[in-house]
Each structure stands twice: as structure tokens, then as C-alpha cells.
Amino acid sequence: MFYSKEEALGQAELESLQSRRLIETVRRVYDNAPFYKAKFDEAGIKPADITSAADLNRLPFTTKQDLRDNYPYGLFAAPMSEIVRIHASSGTTGKMTVVGYTKNDIEMWAALIARCLVMAGATKNDVIHNCYGYGLFTGGLGMHYGTEKLGATVIPVSAGNSRRQIKIMQDFGSTILTCTPSYALNLAETMREMGISPEQLKLKAGIFGAEPWSENMRRDIEKMWGIDALDIYGLSEIMGPGVACECMEKHGLHVFEDHFMPEIIDSKTGKPLPDGESGELVFTTITKEGIPLIRYRTRDITRIIPGKCACGRTFRRIERLSGRTDDMLIIRGVNVFPSEIEMVLMSVEGVEPHYRIIVDRAEHGMDTMEVQVEVSDRLFSDEIKVLEALSTRIEKEIHSVLGVAVTVKMVEPRSIPRSEGKAKRIIDKRKI
């Protein structure tokens, strides 16, 4: 069962659709986004040069830095009168990446989420328990609109208060769970603690994303909940969740190629790689109006799985993400750049530039992030309450900037190993 007929398009039909949409997109960004006009002019490319999908790799790349440099609306290709919603990814105010959606964009996004839900076996009779956060983060509202589009019932419960979540699942008859995979494990533990068994719930599937996870985690989640667990991929720059999603074959995520053209490139040379080879994932949006992006470098590392999928969908599949080409961390679904933590630390008087970030994930638990800060002569106080107030203050500042809770630990001077050259500041102990 597919949500839309495009999911089974033949190769030739898909290519002709992509060609038409790519040509339109290139024309749209050239005419409406001065950033792209300048970029194309600099590369010596005219919209008329792009005549088919095969010309894609002649276009220049777009990076996250481009979005930051043109904060907030610099890459929008539609006037604000057409923009009906804004989302933004975490980061310091000046560094947030801001995206805008037209009415058509919201409709398209909802339809793609509906495809994902159908992949998980959903119909309009299902009750979607949506624990993704609502707000600037794309997860909550993205899932929400897709559920309504499908005609299923959405419970906009958002994250937090695990015991209440389980009670709602039980009382409201939730059938599909949507959240981060680590939160799914966390909720499963809570369910166990409450003495409730999966048989007492109606849950049958879950769509999990916004952070990296593994086959081992899938096995744990499926066993603990007695459900099918599917991986969903997305990023706010491209749209939000629903850029790609797994089907019940659970072997790679189908990229919705009628809306997003994927490429795998060598991140050093920028050269496209053939299907099957691992490299950096790059997307070009070919239907978006608010903020279409040309060859956007995701910094995510994966490969395109060659061959056909048994489910009958013809869209190519990407493998689970295996890493990043930069030092971005994903903590409980929030993108965290160590440089942002450093900025907060350096804004606190007396904090030395020696710090370390320890990321961990307890078994079946959520990600934790500890920021170790060396106590300096200037920071040290004889009074415990002063030291505690200082670490609380840093915790609050980091939380407000990054949108993710951390614990700050004061450590002794010179206890953080010094290194030659680039300091090893991140210790990621998560076994994903």
C-alpha cells in the first residue's frame, strides 16, 4: 500500500519529472533569490544551461554557512506574503538556520509525512502518538500535519513526563509512536517500571528519527514494545522529517526523489560518487517554494543502496547514516556544535579555554552531555554555594543557547589533557 502513485514511478518517468522540476527550481531561485543569482553568475551558469536532471552536478553547492551568512531570510525565494510558517534549527541567535514554508510547501511536507506513516502501515483509523517537540523544531509540527493529511488521529503530546505518556497511550489507544529512538527506549523502561506490558497497549509501529541509531537499538525497541520500528530522516534545511523513510523491508530509507534529488559526493573533492559508494549526502529540493536549496551539503555520511526494494517503491534508498563530516553532535534530537558551547563558556568571566564535552547514553536511556570546566584561580571560591551557582549559571546559559540540557562539572586545573594542535574536546561514549 502506497500513499501516492509517484512512489512507484518508472525510471524514465521519474527522470522526466525531476528534469522538469529541476529546471523550474533553478529558474525560480535565479529570479527570486539574489544569493543564488550571484552564486550562479559567479560559477558562470545561466538557468538556460540546465536542461535536464543530468545537469544537476554542474550547479554550485550550498552550505550551512551560506544560510548563516544570510540569516535569517536571505535565501528565501518567495516573498514574505507567501510564507506561512517559519522553523529554525538550534544554535546561537546569530547562527540559527531559519527556513520558511509557503502554503504549498506545508501541503507537500504533510503529504510526504503521510507517505511515511503509510510505510509504517498507518491508515486513517490509526492514532499517532507524537512525542516530537513542537515549536521551532520541525519534528512536532511536521509529523502533526502529515497525520492530519492522512486523516489519522494525532495526539500532540510532545516530549516529557514519561508516565503520563504511557497512561495516554493506554487510555487513548495510540497505535503508532513517533519520537527519537532513545526516547522510545526511555518510554519502554517507564512502561516496564509501571508494570505495563506491551500487550496492554495497541501500539503496532513506530517511526523514529532526529538522531543516529543502530540495528541493535532497533532490535531492542522492537522487542521491548512488540512493534515494527522504522527509521525516518530529514533536516530542517531541506524540509524537516520525511525527506526519506524506511518501509517495512527495513533495509534503507527511500528518498522521496520526486521532491528531493539526492547525490553522494566525495566530501573533499566535491565529485559525485556512484551508487553504492559511501560519501557525503547532498540534496537539491525540486518542488520547494519558500527556501529551495541547490545541492545542499548535509555533512551526513551514507551511501545509496543499489538495486530494487521488495516493497515495490522505486525511489532509491540511503543507508542508515554512519557519521558526519563535521563535529556536529546530535543530542536528544538537537544539533549541537561544540563551538557554540565554547562561545558560552568563553562569555563567562574567569572560565579558562580548557573544557571537555562528554556525551553518553545509558542503556535504554537518553543522551547525556557533561561539560567539564577547569576551575581557575579566578573561578574558585571557598564557598560551595558560589561554585554551585556558577555551574548552574553555565548550565542555564548553555540550555538557553543550545536548547538542550547539560550538566556542568567543575574539575581540577590541568586535569583535562592538553593536546598538540587540535584539541580533542569531544568524548562520545555512546554505543549507537
Binding site: D377, F380, S381, D382, K409, M410, V411, E412
Partner: protein, 142 residues
């Protein structure tokens, strides 16, 4: 009349306290009083030693953070109600005591308490005629 107290920052992990105290011992420094305030992550040792400057040099040489704070040393009668009597004097003068601890040895037959107050200078002026205050040298030599 003030006594110099050394405060040392230590991470809360096994053996760390012994290491720090060991450094002081190696330098031939005698600890006259010591208290330890701790949280889950770290601790602060507060101590009075016979030769503070020597102790500071020894600790700093090992990159240990040490800070000095002025405290007041008072004699307390070693009998029920002895401490209460002293504290009542401070209370009646409106002086808030942030923390206090005791010396290892007695002075004559009296116990010696070390008190940290916000403004030791002003506090001493208010209480010096009402309680027995010890000089720094007296504390070091107990």
C-alpha cells in the same frame, strides 16, 4: 587577630584527599584544623596550617588551586552550652556565621573554633570584648 585559612579545590574521587594532604605532609607542614565540604562532583578542603605560605607554595607547585580566606579563632569552654554562649554573642551582634569547624587540639582546657563570617574585621571589633579571640600565631602553635 584574623587567622589565614587555606581553601583547596579537589575533585570528588577516590584517593584525591589523601594525595593533597600528602603534599602538605611531605613539605613538613602541620595541619591545625581541617574541614571538608563536599558535593557530588567536588570538594573544598578548608584548613589551618602552621606555615601557610609554605603550604601554598607546595600546593601550587602541583597545580592545585588554593585560596586564602580570613577566619576568626575563638575559644569555647569545653562543657555543655559552651558553644551556644559564643554563638549567642555573634548572634546578638547581628553577625551571620557562614561556616565553622574545630581545631584538632585544645588551647589550655578550652576548645578552639574557627568561624567564617562575611566581614571578619568588623565582626572582631564587635565581639572582641565578649569572647576570647586567639591570634593567628596562637592557633598555629596550639
Amino acid at each position: 587577630m584574623k587567622v589565614m585559612q587555606l581553601s583547596v579545590f579537589l575533585e570528588n574521587r577516590e584517593g584525591r584527599l589523601a594525595e593533597a594532604v600528602g603534599l602538605v605532609a611531605e613539605a613538613g607542614i602541620n595541619i591545625r584544623a581541617l574541614s571538608l565540604a563536599e558535593t557530588a562532583d567536588f570538594g573544598v578542603i578548608r584548613m589551618i596550617v602552621d606555615t601557610p605560605d609554605k603550604a601554598i607554595t607546595a600546593l601550587k607547585a602541583k597545580s592545585i588551586i588554593v585560596k586564602t580566606t580570613d577566619v576568626i579563632a575563638v575559644e569555647v569552654e569545653d562543657k555543655p552550652g559552651g558553644l551556644k554562649k559564643v554563638l549567642d554573642v555573634f548572634h546578638s551582634q547581628g553577625i551571620n556565621i557562614e561556616y565553622m569547624y574545630a581545631c584538632v587540639e585544645k588551647n589550655n582546657s578550652n576548645a578552639v573554633m574557627l568561624l567564617r563570617v562575611e566581614n571578619p574585621e568588623a565582626a572582631l571589633e564587635k565581639v572582641k570584648d565578649k569572647v576570647k579571640i586567639l591570634k593567628a600565631e596562637e592557633v598555629y602553635e596550639i
